[in-house]
């Protein structure tokens, strides 16, 4: 049996949950058609299994557990009804223990919590445990708890986290430590480019990524094509980028393969797929280590290095380390970023918490036979009358009510309702009988959330004025492209659609000083969490540009290591050497 997060508590004599098992669903031996979803760990406590079957029940997930003692056990399942309301919950599933299927259907309560499954009698020894999806509409199971005592585990997140540590007898610090020259967290295009750049300069690099495939928003799991120019780093970025196929295209699979093939060539890149960072160790404003856990097994490693790159998108490493960061739209006066053409939509007079939203891409196809799609009453108050058979970048959700990090699961679920409802409307058309949902991402394609503050904050004016910097390491010609929700100007529009505003400019530059933290001494950042204003992010948030950022900090890390200096000191003392290193990357690619 693989490393399985089953935790037998019988030894904890002083602990009230004696003779108990906690089984993390994501650690099941076989996931069947269920996906491991680690996107919301910080909000609900754990990766979980998701039955994302687009309306068709998915294959059972199963595992084998060892009962040291037979007899009767009470069973609780940690789950959630993701669309509470006046309908049968859409994400229902059952749990099978051995040959016995527990009577209740799970997925009924509106918040993450433990739903009681009744009592089950098990023999001593091995028993098969199965999750049986009933709907294909995103049922979710975090964990299953067996106990001889009828006492529900805690629901409140902080208490639950402590309880989990107790039950699993885990020490606070990871059991294993690994040391590298450079640790990159986040395996999107920025993170990959950063790892490659540093590895080419001889650094021993750890690349930690919480998904099974690299690429982030460009991966086959999210499928946004890469935009922007290559700048100095065409050689590196061509290993990582995508063709200009339509967003959502399955051609993204081939690009995944290309990306992984290239990454595998670098022996000194140690790839940690399905590992999600969950904390940092910081001393005197310097990150000592990043702690990460395997999203399936729960195994933990402490990654120690002199330099770290935050390529998480949400700026998690910086956030945990205490880095200064920004979220929301700054007042137009803060950086003088106004554009009369769009006024408040572009840059508001008074700051707020609205940012560009997250997208969920999706597509359907026309088959040569009929496919029915179930009624989805639970989706219709979001979709209303809107009808569609695919979803591009405009399928985006953001408003004053939701935070792109804290409410990420709510945002994803809102988009799923928008998609299922709109497709159900589409299916009502007489010529849509053969249309079938082919793919709906369950991962959010985020545009904007936390932005870590560096020594320079890149703004709209830097793009508009095409400001030259002595440390210009990233360049872009793409227009500044800021989104707003359509219902802000037309309340009749669905709340899940956006529009884009484009400001055309010539080539503009991003300085190296926007790519390291202002107050965390050894932290670089690349990707959408770099140091920029809300409007400034509009242009360089696309993935070739963020890839340039990644490569630039990868090379910077190599020189920092060579001279034993901080990222800031590299700018102050070794800029010429650094810029030479950046410049020579273009050789042969002009």
């Amino acid at each position: 049996m693989k490393y399985l997060a089953i935790f037998f508590c019988a030894l904890l004599s002083a602990f009230s949950y004696s003779q108990s098992f906690l089984i993390e669903a994501e650690s099941f031996d076989e996931k069947g058609g269920w996906f491991v979803d680690p996107q919301f760990v910080e909000q609900m406590g754990s990766p979980y299994l998701l039955a994302h079957g687009l309306g068709e029940p998915v294959e059972n997930a199963h595992t084998t557990i060892q009962f040291k003692e037979g007899g009767k056990y009470h069973v609780w399942v940690r789950t959630k009804n993701w669309v509470p309301g006046n309908w049968t919950p859409p994400g229902r599933f059952k749990v099978k223990v051995g040959e016995q299927t527990l009577a209740p259907e799970f997925g009924n309560e509106p918040e993450w919590g433990w739903e009681y499954g009744g009592e089950v009698t098990v023999p001593k020894g091995k028993t098969r445990l199965e999750l049986v999806d009933l709907t294909g509409f995103d049922g979710r199971c975090d964990a299953i708890f067996f106990s001889k005592q009828k006492q529900s585990p805690p629901n409140e997140l902080a208490e639950l986290t402590q309880w989990r540590l107790k039950v699993t007898q885990k020490p606070l610090q990871p059991e294993k430590t690994m040391t590298f020259d450079y640790v990159v967290v986040g395996g999107g295009i920025a993170g990959c480019a950063s790892a490659i750049a540093a590895a080419e300069q001889g650094l021993k690099v750890a690349l930690i990524h919480d998904r099974p495939v690299l690429g982030g928003n460009a991966s086959s799991e999210i499928r946004v094509h890469t935009l922007g120019i290559y700048g100095h780093f065409e050689r590196i970025l061509r290993m990582l980028d995508t063709k200009h196929y339509p967003n959502g295209s399955p051609e993204a699979y081939a690009e995944d393969q290309k990306r992984h093939r290239y990454m595998a060539r670098y022996e000194n890149i140690h790839l940690f797929l399905n590992w999600r960072a969950y904390g940092v160790e910081t001393k005197q404003n310097t990150v000592q280590a990043v702690d990460a856990a395997h999203t399936h097994t729960g195994e933990r490693i402490r990654f120690v290095a002199p330099y770290f790159a935050d390529c998480t998108g949400d700026g998690w490493i910086g956030y945990w380390a205490g880095a200064e960061y920004m979220y929301g739209r700054e007042s137009v006066h803060k950086f003088n970023e106004g554009w009369d053409e769009f006024g408040e939509l572009w840059s508001p007079e008074v700051e707020d918490n609205v940012v560009m939203g997250s997208s969920v891409l999706w597509r359907s196809y026309r088959d040569d036979k009929r496919h029915d799609f179930p009624e989805v009453p639970w989706a219709m108050d979001v979709a209303r009358e809107y009808s569609a058979d695919q979803g591009e970048w405009q399928w985006e959700y953001s408003n004053e009510d939701v935070h792109q990090i804290h409410d990420a699961e709510q945002i994803r679920d809102h988009m799923l309702r928008a998609i299922y409802g709109s497709f159900a409307n589409f299916k009502k058309q007489p010529n849509a009988r053969n249309q079938r949902l082919e793919w709906v991402s369950y991962l959010l394609g985020k545009r904007e959330s936390r932005r870590l503050v560096g020594d320079h904050i890149f703004t709209f004016n830097d793009a508009k004025d095409r400001t030259p910097f002595p440390d210009s390491v990233v360049m872009e010609i793409r227009e500044v492209d800021v989104h707003f929700q359509q219902n802000l100007v037309d309340p009749e529009k669905p709340d899940f659609l956006s529009k884009a505003m484009f400001y055309k400019t010539g080539k503009y530059y991003i300085p190296y000083r926007s790519l390291y933290s202002k107050n965390i001494n050894n932290l670089f950042m690349a990707g959408r969490c770099f140091s920029t204003s809300h409007v400034g992010l509009g242009g360089p948030r696309v993935m070739r540009t963020t890839g340039q950022m990644g490569a630039a900090v990868g090379f910077a890390a190599s020189l920092c290591l060579k001279h034993k200096v901080t990222p800031r000191e590299l700018y102050q003392k070794h800029l010429e050497e650094y810029m030479n290193l950046i410049q020579i990357q273009k050789v042969g690619y002009n």
């Binding site: 669309v83 509470p84 309301g85 006046n86 309560e109 509106p110 918040e111 063709k243 200009h244 196929y245 339509p246 959502g248 295209s249 399955p250 051609e251 009369d340 053409e341 408040e344 939509l345 508001p348 007079e349 008074v350 707020d352 609205v354 597509r363 196809y365 026309r366 058979d389 695919q390 591009e392 408003n399 004053e400 009510d401 939701v402 409410d407 709510q410 707003f484 359509q486 219902n487 802000l488 100007v489 037309d490 309340p491 709340d495 529009k499 884009a500 505003m501 484009f502 055309k504």
Partner: protein, 382 residues
């Protein structure tokens, strides 16, 4: 602003010369100088019953393609302004094959699109000189009313995608999404005409009109704009108000909120000085309108109340009436407001609203309310 402001203000002598030199076609519209214009062909909202006169030219503006535009004010009988008007005669093609567009355009005092009219003998035309039909005129009106049309966000060169987006080998639908959106927005067969007129109306000329209003009329109009029946004019006035002057006019400003689009509602709420949120009558007046607020402005309002020194019970009572429409975050906010208001749960109306929602099996978040009541030591049913 692009283009060039040649002359503006009360240069009547100069404008009269211009008028005599090149404005013969204004006769065709049924007005000249200070004569009454007829009701335009297409009007957004209402056209006044009372007679309007056209002033002398007050703005002369050369646009980015070198065409000079002359803008007059529309005046009431007492000489006060009602809007702006200009006869636009402009090329709409990149070549010389199509006819010039002759159209009379009307703006509100806020510089937003109000109406347009044509010359009876000179119908608008599309490519190949095909005349507009009624559907096309209506489509143009629809386009001009759309403040955020795709045309606003696209450069003329980008109306048709030049960078060829490769059609997927594996995907049969796709791409061209942008050009499809453009096609849906414009008058069929008149892409460039639609684009040109849209940008003149919404960008270049609108900007100089707003400047004229700000520089020459705003003071004399006083608060008239705040009580206008055109929401755009009210919003314009509020935007021009310094925050400190908002206080003395807060009541009519709050009255504007439900009528505004969500963007402007949020703008107004954000512009309110923070101390206003402590005032009972402000809290109550907005709470009374809470059922007409959208998710953006309602969430903002609830968050502001969370930061207020105290919450007026009447406002909490109004807010309790829409408890079942809240998002989960809004519900959390509302419950936190109740928690910071001692004794509020003795209010029969509020308690009844909570208990009713909590015991409603169809209400998605009844569990929150049950938990809340439990925490407060209150039974589900009284």
């Amino acid at each position: 602003m692009n283009g060039k402001l040649i002359k503006k203000g009360k240069q009547y002598g100069f404008t009269l010369i211009l008028f005599l030199m090149g404005f013969g076609s204004w006769n065709a519209f049924g007005f000249q100088g200070s004569e009454n214009p007829r009701k335009p062909l297409k009007v957004k909202g209402e056209w006044p019953e009372y007679a309007l006169q056209v002033s002398e030219v007050v703005i002369t503006f050369e646009d980015t393609v070198g065409v000079t535009h002359h803008i007059s004010r529309l005046l009431r009988a007492d000489g006060s302004p009602e809007g702006y008007v200009s006869h636009i005669e402009t090329p709409v093609c990149t070549d010389t094959l199509c006819a010039l567009m002759d159209i009379r355009m009307y703006w509100t005092l806020a510089g937003t699109y109000w109406a347009y009219d044509t010359i009876p003998t000179k119908p608008l035309t599309k490519n190949d000189h095909i005349e507009f039909d009624e559907k096309d005129y209506e489509k143009l009106h629809e386009l001009l009313q759309d403040e955020q049309s795709i045309l606003r966000r696209r450069h003329k060169d980008d109306l048709f995608e030049k960078e060829e987006k490769r059609v997927s080998q594996v995907v049969d639908a796709v791409t061209g999404a942008t050009s499809k959106e453009v096609k849906e927005a414009v008058v069929e067969g008149a892409v460039y005409s639609s684009y040109t007129i849209y940008h003149l109306v919404h960008s270049q000329l609108a900007a100089v009109i707003r400047e004229d209003l700000k520089n020459n009329l705003l003071t004399s109009l006083g608060d008239r704009l705040l009580y206008s029946n055109k929401i755009d004019e009210r919003i314009f006035f509020i935007k021009e108000l310094p925050p400190d002057e908002l206080r003395s006019r807060i009541d009519p400003i709050i009255e504007t909120i439900p009528e505004a689009v969500p963007r402007d509602r949020l703008y107004i709420l954000k512009k309110m000085p923070s101390d206003l949120w402590n005032l009972d009558h402000v809290q109550v007046a907005i709470a009374e309108k809470s059922s007409n607020l959208d998710i953006h402005s309602l969430s903002y309002f609830l968050n502001q109340l969370k930061g207020a020194k105290s919450i007026n019970p009447e406002s909490l009572r109004y807010l309790s009436q829409i408890i079942t429409t809240y998002s989960v975050n809004q519900l959390r906010s509302y419950l936190s407001l109740l928690e910071k208001t001692p004794g509020i749960l003795s209010d029969a109306q509020i308690l009844a609203a909570i208990q009713q929602a909590a015991s409603d099996p169809d209400y998605p978040f009844s569990a929150y309310l049950k938990s809340f009541l439990n925490k407060q030591g209150i039974d589900l049913k009284q």
